[in-house]
Symmetry: C2
């Protein structure tokens, strides 16, 4: 049994008993039943994930997976590939949006080079480069099946390390110029939608470049014919190394019964790969924001997840997930800290 199979086999069901206890408490708190909406759902889900009736906020980490994409040679992005490595260095020196938001949310950041197309060395960088960027999916497979497996394994290993060091809440993020093209291709294959329905502007291409991007994805799907029922086939043919890494983090979090926050469109593509490998893994995912990027809604629908922040964001890096850590903490504090009707001596509904 390889590392992925072993991890997938450990992902079991939510703890219904803990969820029932959390829900029973929610209904005793001083508010009308269900009035805290998704915040109640999140706390009950985390009870199911952790098996604790009263789960508390805990140590958080955002795992940012970085890699490059050969498909950029087709001119699908506004920015050159060099920006991936430059932004990784920006993460490591603390100047990127994800640094600001992780600090704000009290989360650590772990940056992983799974396949950046440049030599990168830094004390705080986890170097697990599988290859220097993928090949151009418009001309053939983005990577071999073995490389796809290796990318997922990197995610699993890094997540297990973080959990061993005490991480109780994980979030996934991405950096990779060209990766909205890969995410759109994956989403099209897995959801069965036409590429035009799930392809957006990425970093901000214009109408003409958007049409070209859709055309490139169509060509990639024709050339590669990925099998929608084989997540590793999809990942290897039209995916990205960072997307594989994200899938691995999610699977390991689920295996270790830790909630994992899904960021935007790229992270959701990773979540689709994870769900392809183990459908139960969606039980351990918490959606964060709805990206502007076309296709994100389709991916979340497929995963059965509801985002909570609608802020027209389209940055990736884990930014939406880091913001959502703050709302998850709020949800858990509400469950633990609110008074019950009995404690506060408050009348119930009339006639009850």
């Amino acid at each position: 049994m390889n590392r992925i199979e072993e991890t997938v086999s450990r992902i079991s069901k939510l703890d219904r008993k803990a969820m029932a206890a959390a829900l029973a408490r929610q209904d005793q708190l001083t508010k009308p039943k269900g009035a805290l909406g998704t915040l109640e759902d999140i706390s009950v889900k985390i009870s199911g994930i952790t098996g604790e009736a009263l789960p508390k906020p805990g140590k958080k980490v955002v795992i940012v997976m970085a890699s490059d994409h050969g498909v950029t040679e087709e001119g699908v992005s506004l920015y050159p590939s060099e920006v991936t490595a430059q932004m990784v260095l920006n993460f490591l020196s603390g100047g990127a949006a994800i640094n600001v938001l992780a600090r704000h949310a009290g989360a650590d950041i772990r940056v992983v080079d799974v396949g950046v197309k440049a030599p990168l060395q830094h004390d705080n960088l986890t170097s697990r480069k599988i290859r220097e960027g993928t090949a151009n999916m418009a001309k053939g497979a983005a990577m071999s099946r073995e490389e796809a497996v290796a990318s997922v394994e990197v995610g699993i290993e890094v997540a297990l390390e973080e959990i061993a060091h005490g991480a109780e809440f994980l979030a996934v993020g991405d950096m990779g110029i060209g990766n909205t093209t890969a995410a759109s291709a994956i989403t099209a294959v897995v959801t069965g939608r036409d590429p035009a329905e799930v392809t957006g502007r990425g970093t901000g291409v214009d109408d003409r470049a958007l049409r070209h991007k859709v055309e490139v994805i169509r060509r990639a799907l024709e050339v590669n014919r990925p099998n929608p029922d084989d997540a590793l086939d999809v990942l290897s043919k039209v995916g990205g190394l960072e997307i594989g890494g994200i899938a691995g983090v999610i699977l390991a979090a689920a295996a270790e019964r830790r909630p994992v926050l899904i960021d935007g469109f790229i992270s959701s593509a990773g979540a689709l790969i994870a769900a392809g490998l183990q459908p139960r893994s969606t039980d351990f995912m918490i959606a964060s924001h709805l990206s502007v990027e076309k296709g994100h809604q389709a991916a979340l629908d497929r995963l059965g997840l509801q985002p909570i922040i609608f802020a027209n964001m389209r940055l990736g890096e884990g930014t939406g997930a880091a913001l959502t850590f703050l709302l998850v903490d709020a949800a858990l504090k509400l469950l633990s800290e609110m008074a019950t009707f009995e404690e506060a001596r408050i009348s119930g509904p009339q006639g009850e």
Copy 2:
């Protein structure tokens, strides 16, 4: 010139120069232009409000206005009026959702009795009771015009006190059994919509009670014929004392150039009254969440505001606004703390 006129006359325009400076900086930060969406909009708006090119997070307060509603005698709510006073005591002992969320966001809470139908005394309660609840709007005016003016003045005075004590960011919240009926009536009058389009289940009434609630609002509008062009007429005839208080807080915040976060449906009704008294006041409002309560979207549309959290909440108290303080802080930290492209030596778009 009375207190309301004096306050309204001090509300001026956003500082376009500060906004241009903030926007120019946003476009130099290490992200594609506009990729942080609403978070960028919020920081630029706060620049316009405060006149600072780089506004920072600061002292926060949630002002919770509480009062009762005579219309409850029509059976429009699931809960009895006594719950208003009981919940005010819950706020004062720290056990309500708003307490948990304000603590989480680092905000103070100021609880104001503008018209609770019970004797209430507590060291931390601001007692500014105008009358013991409104009259039944289904049979006549909810209050006199003088009382409506007084309720707005209470909000102005409390907000000015908080600002004098250092509050830089304000949020409004409400408590008042029956107040979704008043908010729906106000929203129907101000937006010109049919009551059925803007009336929801409040604390959770069933289909039959919802039809009855709409019928009660129709009767209130027929009996009172509020003038949609006269906000104080609307407030006095179908409003609530806490809704007037909320309008006052908003006007004072705008006059003092402090951002004010609008909570859910009741707070938005207060915002409609404030906007009726001074349309420019909407420039100083920041929307928080979209409530489940039918009518909230219509009110926000009228105010020209976009909510950022979609969490199916319907609790009021300022809970959605308190959560949004965390996102506002995030927006301001991003503007101040992110590296620029030049600082991080990152390539710009290709061909530029």
